[in-house]
């Protein structure tokens, strides 16, 4: 098996919202987008990070004592990591017995990862499920992704790629034959807005969507609904009209904003820009979904 390795920050088994059946969702670390609402802040940076899970800490002080760079400190009863001093030597992780200090992101070889994925084959079989590569943006670890996809197909495991669509076409070209389903994010067609909210243009995203569709890819479109960003009828009408022209779209999912990422920002000692946003009301979601139903899309809301 290939010796490439990848940086994975989480593996979620019995994942039931990332494609058909029971799935294992593998979260790749690193993302070229920086959506301000992102509920996986730990996915954004490509490098390993460390974080402190508050409620597990027993305040033993071992991390402080053992840090060679004086990067651990108690401030207001909370044990912190001084990011400017920390050299990521991981000493504190190894001494923390309560597992309060954690590494985010771990190197996996293809073999290791496949072994994990294969464990749940009996569940995929019964549910017609499989594996979903998500993130972050898996495409930025393209070689690793490709090898994993190939191995899965060798083992007859259904593969899905959850992607922002942001990547060069050559990357898509490589994986197309080994990807059974694309979970493809569309945020808004308004490029200005897109740039402002995510840091990148949507041009290449839409282009790639067209091209994978031409290559007969199966596609589920996922639209995160973010209050005061894209929750207008206009945004959705535009998306729906655009998608109408694209074949292979089996489903459109509207994903309501949620605040579940909040604690993760805290653990990582980062600011959460969507802190004051509230989920969109069910009635409104329903109204927005009508736009897609009207355009004859299969729709799911969550």
């Amino acid at each position: 098996m290939s010796q490439v390795s990848g940086n994975i920050f989480s593996i979620q088994r019995y994942s039931i919202h990332d494609g058909p059946g029971i799935r294992t969702t593998v979260f790749f670390k690193g993302c070229p987008l920086h959506c301000f609402w992102c509920h996986n802040p730990e996915s954004q940076k490509s490098e390993q990070e460390i974080q402190v899970v508050d409620f597990r800490c027993i305040e033993c002080g071992l991390c402080i004592k053992n840090c060679p760079n004086d990067a651990r400190k108690i401030v207001d009863d909370k044990i912190l990591i001084l990011k400017d001093k920390c050299k990521l030597c991981m000493k504190c992780v190894s001494v923390c017995m309560s597992k309060a200090t954690e590494v985010v992101g771990r190197e996996y070889t293809v073999e290791e990862l496949i072994k994990k994925i294969i464990t749940d084959v009996p569940f995929y079989k019964r549910s017609r499920g499989g594996v979903t590569f998500s993130g972050g943006e898996p495409l930025i670890q393209i070689e690793f992704l490709l090898e994993c996809l190939k191995e899965c197909k060798k083992n007859n495991i259904h593969t899905a790629l959850d992607t922002s669509g942001y990547g060069t076409w050559s990357k898509f070209e490589k994986i197309l034959n080994f990807t059974d389903l694309f979970l493809y994010d569309i945020k808004t067609l308004d490029n200005k807005k897109h740039k402002k909210a995510t840091g990148v243009s949507n041009k290449i995203i839409l282009e790639n969507l067209n091209r994978i569709s031409e290559r007969n890819a199966k596609i589920h479109i996922r639209i995160p609904l973010i209050p005061n960003f894209n929750d207008t009828s206009k945004d959705m009408e535009e998306i729906a009209n655009y998608l109408k022209k694209i074949k292979g779209i089996e489903l459109v999912e509207l994903l309501n904003f949620h605040q579940l990422g909040y604690g993760k920002y805290k653990n990582l000692q980062r600011q959460y820009l969507a802190e004051n946003l509230k989920p969109i009301k069910d009635e409104r979601i329903k109204e927005l979904s009508e736009i897609f139903i009207k355009n004859k899309f299969n729709i799911k809301t969550r």
Binding site: I16, I22, L62, M97, T119, D120, R126, S127
Partner: protein, 731 residues
């Protein structure tokens, strides 16, 4: 006042009354099981359909032993008859069924409260030392967990049963004459009980103003008058007959259980349908009325002896009845490939909607293939029904004493580790601990087996199974109690408990002492002795290894090893008297008790804390429910008794059709992997945490404790805490 009242309204009224009764029971402390073969005074137990008696009701038994006990068939029979004859009449005009039981005769008759019923003349102190040493719940004197073939009663009726007893009494005279006297008294008592209800129903009907309920009471009177002697002919009559039997049996000693209700009621259902005298709504209503009286251990959807699906409308109607009642029930769906898939769909839908911890799911194939390994045919295996928290039984033909004899793996481990550490030999090794563990486990099984023999030898002289005997094959015919050898098959259940605690302990020592060398044996000894005082770091180091349930870990391997060696030991031998034993892994609701007297363990468990639950990994050990399923499937004993997986999951995993479909796939995959039984608790985390603070705010909140569902508010503080811990640790 002419007013129509619908079935639904009547069901709601019945549920309400039941909730009131539960409130009274909690207040009066009647919801506790007050005795088992253990030393604890009160235990959390199933919410049986028991009704609180009027406060001024008094009843005195006539003991026949200086200890104050009521022992032997004659005394048990005559005293129970007296209780039946004095039992207050209970009729709820909303119900289509008469009767309600208020006592547990077995417990009343007990001279030593808080212990099993036992006659001190039969001394088993010679077993005591080893039983205590190995933390064995010996089951001596416990009601013995097997059950009736109701078809015998459906065929004979009470008159027929009485005639049968008298026939064999004469035939076998003088052999078994005391036993027959006991049996006769039981039947006469039951007939009296039924008859008084027929009379009362008639009386009530004269004053009932609601025309629907009046009709109901008139019909109730007619049916019960008939059933005093005659066998049932219609569906309604059969349900009432069953209700009388099961109430009599439950009140006698908490024994007897529902079984494959969709099979034994089917002929009546078909017949009534053919005649056009029964609607499905009415049938469902009768079943709801039955569930109010006895809520537990019904199997639905099994197969016939040729493996054909027995799912029928009654299977669905029972689920629907439970769904409408919203009371704790235990309904087991026997899952197999030939089954009508709609039944499983319906069951899962109700599981998530009602959040009552029912239905539960058993694997037909894995139970059957396991049972035949004991040397039985597949046809016989298919007749073995799922009928208790975690046990199975061939109705009327098999004596199992299941779920009563438990070996505490943690006690055995504790004995072993202390012995090794105190051996004076400084060169300890985990291998050596393992070898000694196997040795002591063997001893523990031997002690348990001797206890079983002792029980079978003497129980019939103390507290014979007089009610169940009535509907078994062999007891009346031979004049011998089922607990003493009258039945065809004896397969005694012996369960291990605390698997995760021991697997994790082995793995923790191996990893931290032998492989990583972070700790010495002396340090282990010292932290355990001091109950991890000032050693929280070490405790967490030991606790945070990859535990049993994490998948592919050292501890997972130990889980499998412990289960295999236990199975091997149990199957290696019969009891000294030659009875077959069947292993399982299950601790029922005894986790707290079983941990109470054991010191700290190397898995980071503090002294006196509960042991791990049955076959389950400790909360927080597994990263997903698939990991849990794989772990528990891997440690199955595989001889026809189960090692259940107890799952606590968030309602979100089944809040829509699609996710329910995935959960169905999950169940099937668990069974593909070898799983036998799945109990699911749908825990609304917020609600539970709040209810723990304010139990009275949630009188209707139902949780599955282990093999049974019950009201959260009715649980002891310890058990509430255990459930809360499960939530906290796994989040």
């Amino acid at each position: 006042m002419e007013k129509h009242i619908s079935y639904i309204e009547r069901i709601n009224n019945l549920s309400r009354t039941k909730a009131e009764h539960t409130g009274i029971k909690i207040k009066r402390g009647l919801n506790k099981k007050s005795s088992t073969s253990t030393d604890l005074a009160a235990l959390d137990a199933d919410d049986k359909g028991i009704i609180p008696p009027p406060e001024d009701f008094e009843f005195k038994l006539e003991p026949n032993h200086p200890s104050g006990g009521v022992f032997g068939p004659v005394a048990c029979g005559s005293n129970y008859r007296k209780l039946l004859e004095n039992h207050p009449v209970y009729i709820d005009p909303n119900s289509s069924l008469a009767g309600g039981y208020m006592f547990n005769f077995w417990e009343m008759s007990n001279p030593v409260k808080g212990k099993s019923v036992w006659n001190p003349d039969f001394d088993f102190s010679f077993l005591k030392e080893d039983q205590e040493k190995y933390g064995i719940i010996h089951g001596i004197g416990d009601p013995q967990h097997f059950y009736q073939d109701i078809n015998i009663g459906f065929k004979l009726g009470w008159k027929g049963i009485l005639e049968k007893i008298r026939y064999y009494k004469k035939n076998n005279y003088p052999s078994g004459k005391d036993f027959y006297k006991g049996l006769e008294d039981i039947v006469l008592g039951i007939q009296n009980w039924i008859h008084r209800h027929a009379v009362a129903a008639e009386d009530y009907s004269k004053v009932e103003e609601n025309p629907v309920l009046r009709e109901n009471l008139i019909e109730m009177a007619r049916i019960n008058r008939k059933l005093v002697t005659e066998p049932p002919e219609t569906f309604h009559e059969a349900v009432q007959w069953f209700a009388w039997f099961i109430m009599s049996s439950l009140m006698y000693n908490g024994n007897g259980t529902g079984g494959a209700i969709d099979v034994f009621l089917k002929p009546f259902y078909d017949n009534d349908k053919l005649k056009g005298i029964l609607t499905d709504e009415e049938a469902m209503f009768h079943l709801a009325c039955l569930l109010i009286k006895d809520n537990e251990y019904y199997q639905i959807g099994g197969t016939d002896i040729n493996g054909n699906d027995m799912t029928n409308p009654i299977s669905f109607l029972l689920l629907e009845a439970a769904h409408l009642l919203k009371i704790p029930t235990s309904i087991y769906l026997r899952v197999h490939e030939k089954q009508d898939p709609k039944l499983l769909e319906k069951a899962v839908e109700i599981l998530f909607e009602d959040r009552n911890g029912s239905p539960n799911f058993v694997s037909d194939e894995n139970l059957n293939s396991g049972f035949i390994k004991n040397g039985y045919t597949i046809e016989l295996a298919r007749q073995r029904e799922k009928c208790g928290c975690h046990w199975c039984n061939i109705p009327g033909r098999e004596f199992t004493h299941s779920d009563l004899v438990k070996i505490n793996f943690v006690s055995v481990f504790d004995v072993t580790l202390k012995e090794v550490l105190n051996s004076g030999n400084a060169n300890h090794s985990v291998n050596n601990v393992w070898d000694r563990f196997v040795y002591h486990l063997g001893k523990a099984v031997e002690v348990a087996a001797k206890g079983i023999d002792f029980h079978i030898e003497y129980m019939h002289e103390i507290f014979p199974e007089l009610v169940l005997d009535l509907l078994c094959y062999g007891s009346i015919e031979r004049g011998i109690d089922a607990s003493h050898g009258s039945l065809e098959f004896y397969n005694l259940g012996v369960d291990g408990a605390g698997l995760a605690t021991v697997a994790d302990s082995f793995a923790a020592i191996e990893q931290k002492v032998e492989i990583e060398k972070c700790l010495s044996w002396q340090e282990i000894e010292s932290v355990l002795k001091n109950n991890y005082k000032d050693a929280e770091n070490i405790r967490l180091m030991l606790k945070n290894i990859d535990r049993y349930g994490s998948g592919g870990s050292r501890a997972d391997e130990y889980g499998v090893r412990i289960s295999s060696i236990f199975t091997e030991i149990v199957k290696e031998k019969s009891t000294p008297k030659g009875f077959n034993m069947i292993p399982g892994i299950f601790s029922w609701a005894l986790d707290t008790l079983m941990g109470k007297y054991i010191g700290a363990t190397p898995n980071g468990r503090f002294a006196n804390e509960p042991i791990s639950h049955g076959a389950n990994p400790d909360p927080g050990s597994s990263d997903s429910i698939t990991a849990l399923a794989i772990a528990v499937a891997s440690i199955q004993s595989g001889y026809g008794n189960s090692c259940p997986l107890q799952l606590d999951i968030d309602p979100i995993l089944g809040n829509e059709k699609e996710s329910q479909g995935k959960f169905i796939a999950f169940i099937k995959a668990f069974f593909d992997l070898g799983g036998t039984l799945l109990n699911v608790n749908i825990l609304d985390k917020k609600k539970i945490l709040d209810a723990n603070e304010n139990p009275s705010k949630y009188p209707d909140l139902i949780v599955r404790v282990t093999g049974f569902s019950t009201y959260f508010a009715g649980l002891s503080k310890e058990w509430r805490q255990l459930i809360v811990n499960r939530i906290i640790e796994s989040s």
